[in-house]
């Protein structure tokens, strides 16, 4: 069974989102997604300061068997990227909800966060797959 932390929000495209104290949102891919992808060998990160709209592909996670886009969960601006992934992309496999975070986005409308799926809904989504 995949680990789906209760305190996070989720998307249908298997990103997780954490609301930080300063109102920014940290984004990564779920434990379920990293399991499906297998060994991750490369991450293409967005640029800091890049504007994104909800649903834009902003990063790419490449494993030995596939390359998968990572989508912005909300409209906003990329304010931080996890540069550790450049040299150690396997952090996404090892610690998807911690050291394996991918980017942080400052939402244009803070209420967008509330629209995202909660853990139970995501659990239901992946059990249907």
């Amino acid at each position: 069974m995949s680990n789906i932390p209760q305190e996070l929000r989720y998307t249908e495209t298997h990103e997780w989102i954490r609301l930080e104290e300063d109102g920014t949102l940290t984004v990564g891919i779920t434990d379920h997604a990293q399991e499906l992808l297998g060994d991750i060998v490369f991450v293409e990160l967005p640029e800091e300061g890049e504007e994104c709209a909800a649903g834009d592909d902003v990063a790419v996670v490449e494993s030995v068997k596939a390359a998968s886009d990572v989508y912005a969960p909300v409209t906003g601006e990329v304010v931080a990227i996890n540069t550790k992934l450049t040299d150690t992309p396997e952090l996404i496999n090892q610690d998807p909800y911690g050291e394996g975070w991918i980017f942080r986005v400052k939402p244009m409308d803070p209420e967008d966060y509330d629209e995202l799926m909660d853990a139970d809904a995501y659990q239901e989504l992946i059990s249907e797959e």
Partner: protein, 464 residues
């Protein structure tokens, strides 16, 4: 895959099951204005006997000529062993195999090819080839736009000294993608881009630098490279591989070197054969490898620790990345690359240097011989490699026709692509030309000039 034939009856039954009248009906959702229709310039088919005769006649016409044309395709001596080996059954295929890893010999050959090209260009990585030099430049431009994420303009500076056909092909392949190609003019005295006259550029994504350029002249690559990098642009070198045997590799141009290097591989063991097939090469620095199109072969070790070869970084390619692949190119010019690899292995760095040096020396003789003729002037004074442009006193079409009657291909006219360069020809002499060949060319040009002088009207009163 088994061969499954269809009878007329099978086809009719399938059409009935689908509910259409004819196979043509399956395509009727494509609007008529998007259909290609007939191809006006393709002649009617010929039977085997007739096509055999036509091809023999054309081959015989090619073999008789003394060729001083270059302009992107160069006649070099090809050691007999090259095509003897390349056409062995084990190698004789145009494709990377579908079950690639089952063909270790082919993969090893491609790996050796990549190693040789990376060394020749001074780059970290080479792909397993592209279609030709022109499409390699177009792919390089697309690659630079993906790789230079700091630049938002999608503007490419493309000197007018780049091969006109390469510029046209690049335009065709990139102009629908919001990429602008902006021409850089050349200095009419020198025949190269003047680094001192470069404009205030603003945001530029990449600058293309040819070496040698279309006129055979050597651009000031160090100054151009440093200028491009100072604008935040990537540098795309488009080069002749033979020239790199004696010139500084693009990886060492300027302070930081070129970023992407491409060109046509034809000079490396591929015969002229009426214009193709040739192959394109594409090399780059390590950080850009994920933006590179085409196949890449890597060396690895298997479970038993033995060396093996494998396709690598396939996540860039269309069978995995689908619509976001770096390119829709899925195969390469395997057979031509096989010949080129054998050619380079036979020649070695020293052999290739001698080919390049002899070609340059012969072109120097050609320049001296032609400049000694009344009414013939070398167009540009920049240093050249194995090709140079000349202006003649008479229209060059007549000159080319007269020399063709003597079995000589007297270069390539420039006026069609450069209207300001009327009565001009681009001429090339590789290592295959002897002093006698050059004397023969010069002799015929001199005679043609005298004949034209004697038939020219002697006064200007006719104008009135």
């Amino acid at each position: 895959m088994p061969f499954i034939p269809h009878t007329e009856d099978d086809i009719r039954q399938m059409l009935e099951a689908i509910g259409v009248e004819s196979i043509e009906d399956l395509f009727d959702e494509i609007p008529a204005n998007l259909r290609a229709g007939g191809l006006a310039n393709v002649p009617e088919g010929l039977n085997e006997m007739a096509i055999g005769r036509l091809m023999r006649e054309r081959a015989a016409a090619d073999a008789r000529t003394l060729c001083f044309a270059g302009a992107g395709a160069y006649e070099h001596h090809i050691p007999a062993a090259v095509w003897e080996i390349a056409t062995r059954g084990e190698y004789y295929s145009a494709y990377t195999p579908y079950q690639a890893e089952a063909s270790q010999g082919t993969l090893q050959l491609l790996y050796e090819y990549q190693t040789m090209m990376a060394r020749l260009t001074g780059m970290d990585v080479s792909n397993a080839s592209l279609y030709d030099g022109a499409s390699a430049l177009a792919e390089s431009v697309l690659m630079a736009v993906r790789a230079n994420r700091k630049s938002k303009s999608r503007r490419i500076l493309l000197p007018r000294t780049v091969h006109p056909a390469y510029r046209k092909v690049t335009h065709t392949l990139v102009h629908q993608q919001g990429i602008t190609l902006e021409e850089l003019p050349f200095d009419p005295e020198r025949g190269i881009v003047d680094p001192a006259a470069l404009p205030e550029a603003g945001d530029v994504t990449a600058v293309v630098i040819p070496l040698p350029n279309y006129f055979g002249a050597l651009e000031e690559v160090d100054a151009l490279t440093d200028w491009a990098h100072a604008q935040g642009a990537l540098v795309i070198a488009v080069v002749n591989p033979t020239a790199l045997a004696i010139l500084k590799p693009p990886g060492e141009w300027g302070e930081k070197g070129a970023d992407i290097v491409c060109g046509d591989g034809q000079p490396l063991g591929v015969p002229l054969s009426s214009g193709g097939p040739y192959f394109g090469f594409l090399c780059c620095r390590q950080p850009f490898v994920r933006q590179m199109p085409g196949r890449l072969i890597g060396r690895t070790t298997d479970l038993d620790g033995k060396t093996g070869y494998t396709l690598t970084l396939q996540a860039r390619e269309q069978h995995i990345r689908r619509s976001k692949a770096t390119s829709n190119i899925c195969t390469n010019q395997g057979l031509l690359v096989t010949a080129a690899t054998i050619y380079m292995a036979l020649m070695g760095p020293e052999g290739l240097r001698r080919v390049a040096a002899a070609s340059h020396a012969n072109t120097r003789r050609l320049v001296n011989a032609l400049e000694a003729i009344d009414g013939v002037h070398k167009l540009f004074d920049a240093p050249f490699f194995h090709e140079a442009a000349f202006r003649f006193a008479q229209p060059v079409a007549g000159l080319q026709e007269a020399l063709a009657a003597e079995g000589i291909v007297a270069g390539v006219g420039l006026e069609a692509d450069y209207p300001e360069l009327g009565n001009s020809l681009l001429l090339c002499a590789t290592e295959t030309k002897t002093d006698a060949d050059i004397d023969q060319l010069a002799g015929h040009i001199r005679q043609f000039g005298k004949r034209s002088d004697s038939t020219r009207p002697s006064g200007e009163f006719r104008m009135a």
